[in-house]
Symmetry: C2
Subunit: 296 residues, 2 copies
Amino acid sequence: MVANQNLTEFISKHKEMVEKELEQRMNDLNCPAIIKQAMAYSLQAGGKRIRPLLIFATLDAFQLPTEYGLEAACAVEMIHTYSLIHDDLPSMDDDDLRRGKPTNHKVFGEAIAILAGDGLLTHSFQTIAGINHLSSEQKLAIIYELAHAAGPEGMVGGQVADIEGENKKLELKDLEYIHIHKTGKLLSFCVKAGTIIANCDQKVSEQFEQFAYHLGLAFQIKDDVLDVVGDVEKIGKRTGSDIEKNKSTYPSLLSLDGAIEKLNDHLQKAKEHLANIPLNTVILEQLTDLIGIREN
Amino acid sequence: MVANQNLTEFISKHKEMVEKELEQRMNDLNCPAIIKQAMAYSLQAGGKRIRPLLIFATLDAFQLPTEYGLEAACAVEMIHTYSLIHDDLPSMDDDDLRRGKPTNHKVFGEAIAILAGDGLLTHSFQTIAGINHLSSEQKLAIIYELAHAAGPEGMVGGQVADIEGENKKLELKDLEYIHIHKTGKLLSFCVKAGTIIANCDQKVSEQFEQFAYHLGLAFQIKDDVLDVVGDVEKIGKRTGSDIEKNKSTYPSLLSLDGAIEKLNDHLQKAKEHLANIPLNTVILEQLTDLIGIREN
């Protein structure tokens, strides 16, 4: 990753923070060892931790201690990780590798992988309900937003639309539906969680929401682009899999140049909304740039 | 089912209430049609609705309108239904029939079945977070208890222990661990949710908890007994499947007579705790009797 010094430090500090907390939370569970291992295996498999970082970066704009977002960060990473475990299953994407490591079901078998996903999903809500330092209203708002972003009207709906769209030539609006739901809603949740924790007013929250919307689309278009031009070593999984699976993507619908143009357009719009926010959003701005230039 | 007149009316009224509400909630979802159909298919597949009924019966003891428990009843039925969908999958129990109907993955395919389960699980938390008529503290307490009862330290942990125990001769304490977690915790949640909604004091809540603990074990022992002596027509699935799968059960560890004795012992203890509660618990008492004599 190419990032400036401040952002590099911000990322490394907060990645460590959330990874340590996730490890601790798994260790503390009183449950059969194998399920604990299976959940921890995928949680610890690395990744960019972009969702936790978005929560922390949003809190940073309010000059709030980023620790205030630690439980929400763990919760969203549990949900993201469960979705990867289930997506990789033989009856879904049937992937053997994830971030360069064998997928959960390859190590623990399908039954335990399904249950590890179920366990992470369920535990994410307990994690938020158990927060000490927020008001009940804040915790409930976060739970509602998280369930909505991850459920049938959010990520699960997007995944279903993605499956339904396989081997079909989609229109751009269908592709956007998939991405907004499959990836965008959970990314937007992270920014929203930050504004809930900060008790942000409605008008500023709307700018954050618009920012997150464009960032989410940019993130997914970049993913599609990397599947065409990315370096397999850096991505940690096969490239070209979208083409192999005959999946509609931004490059396949708009050409590679058209997709890159759309990517830059969304990055630009995201930064315009940030500029409308009367706070120091420098870390969010740098994260936005990083999403545009990331190589994995 | 054999039940006296009052209980029969109570059951039929409240089953209809929760089934109608579940149908409405699925209809209201803004998501791809196929996932809505898949979730609704399994929600509408019938069943005893024992979990919702336990919530309603607990509220009845406090002479509270049973409608107060409607969202919690929907949420717990969503969680119970998700667990059945995932348990039936080829990599788990590989069941083709559930309540006499083809299982979810037989109708919708494995990928959609996994996602229907994920969707129901996630949406259950949104359902509780969205309740209008309870305090934020009550809603959070219900969410915490539900996630704990359903997650790695509850139902998911019990399911994992069940899988790990296949083809092994278990000790009674291992079998109890499985049942307390796989079935008992979610049944106990229902009674707990009722006491949270009723703002019940600690001392009485403890009696309700002990009641629910024994009821949960009785329920599962009865399930094991029915797998040996039950009528396939009434149960709606094959009997003898535990023996086929070489699963440890109460009858296999204690003999059929021993299992029935243990069942009666737990029913007796459940009713003793009910008797310690200074409320009119007649419906809970009748439900307890019904669990002992049920034929499916």
